[in-house]
Assembly symmetry: C2
Homo-oligomer: 253 residues x 2
């Protein structure tokens, strides 16, 4: 199964610790990795069709403290689509003058809706097809960039449609917010003052967030599996959509 990692923060924060944890899980996920960092509206994306364990690009990301307020990372275990650069998540499109980043964990069967608008897949994965459909439907639903709350309501209507065709855990961001949709498995942890020490679940590596943060910092991390063994990770419910902005969950009715 692929692994997802998302981060949303109220001040630009690096994800070296979490990405290191993710890369340590790359042994069974040899079919590529990708990570996208928003810096305000700007976007920096690193993708490689090689394992995150071996890739020099992954080595750069593990060492380089890129600070970002919205991050989406993905480690791929190919289920549909060849092992190729164009099939490597996250995928990026532009809509309403904003970049949109999407990564998917799961497997969709028979979800190939007609794409009649400006978004077409470059590769041949079910994931990119579903992303193009999602962009098309968002573009139809709003004339220009809506508020984060409006987007959350639209996504809540749209996402169950592909999810009915298999497993569809996903992370989506436009740089303003991070959306997480749980189809089968996704976990969330919120970090805020007072910050403690966290230890990676897969290895004996710890980080003391108190030394790296200020009392005002707020950070949300979303991952397929809990990444640390001494923090309160909450499992999302199947069918649940959550939106995070400025390091905190949003409540939309």
């Amino acid at each position: 199964m692929c692994q997802l990692l998302g981060m949303n923060a109220n001040v630009p924060t690096d994800v070296m610790f979490s990405f290191d944890g993710l890369a340590r899980r790359a042994d069974e996920h040899r079919d590529g990795f990708g990570i996208a960092f928003f810096e305000d509206k700007g976007l920096r994306t690193f993708v490689d069709q090689h394992s995150a364990r071996e890739s020099p690009v992954a080595a750069l990301v593990r060492r380089y403290p890129i600070r970002s307020d919205n991050v989406i990372a993905h480690i791929r275990k190919a289920t549909q689509g060849r092992i190729a650069l164009e099939n490597t998540h996250p995928f990026v499109r532009e809509l309403w003058g904003r970049y949109w980043v999407f990564a998917h964990n799961g497997d969709l069967r028979g979800f190939r809706p007609r794409l009649h608008a400006a978004f077409r897949p470059v590769g041949d994965t079910d994931s990119e097809h579903a992303f193009c459909w999602l962009m098309q439907e968002l573009a139809k639903s709003h004339a220009s960039v809506p508020t984060v709350d409006e987007l959350t309501l639209t996504l809540r209507e749209l996402l169950p449609q592909p999810a009915a065709h298999g497993s569809f855990n996903l992370l989506l961001s436009n740089g303003q917010a991070l959306w997480a949709f749980c189809s089968t498995k996704l976990h969330v942890v919120e970090r805020a003052h007072p910050f403690g020490e966290a230890t990676l679940a897969d290895d004996d590596v710890s980080v003391d967030f108190a030394a790296l943060t200020t009392p005002d910092d707020r950070i949300v991390v979303v991952a397929t599996e809990p990444m640390t063994c001494n923090e309160r990770w909450m499992a999302m419910r199947p069918g649940e959509l959550r939106a995070f902005s400025r390091g905190a969950p949003l409540t939309v009715h």
Copy 2:
């Protein structure tokens, strides 16, 4: 002035030597750099709003032999638009299931055509606005992905329009071909068997291409200024559009 570098080859080729030369020119171009590598339809892009001399991302690109058949690189000297990640070339959009990469050297005045289609700028440069207009007009001109020759003819009609508003040297690629349009300054060199030794114009660095190539390899390099001092660089004419595919120039009537 910004610096452009493009490469088109018939076999995936690294651009470490040329990018090294480009980065050595980065002293007066402190406002960011970017480089995009096609691998077939897939795309790998590195951008940084920091100087190519200092950026760890640029250091990775200089050392890492990414092999590609179409490369576009840009070193930025900001004329319009803030120094920000979203204003850093090259820009990328998807059209007809292909990624399109665009980098511009020059300055457009008063070219702000209405963007009524699916392509909107994320940043605030004249360059990205012109690129979105170009994508919009290409999308209007062809129902689905045309041949490289048809695209060349359409581009020949379109590009003089923005070029009339200032200087508009550009590189464009969709992974199938590399297009170079010269408004004021652009140089081309073709490398083919028998390969010789090339010495960087800005420094005492040489590379023996004969040792790195096979007799069948063909490579075209396009750059603002000649990058080497002992090869036959040809200056393009103002208003000239050239298309390169599989390491050779295409002739389109």
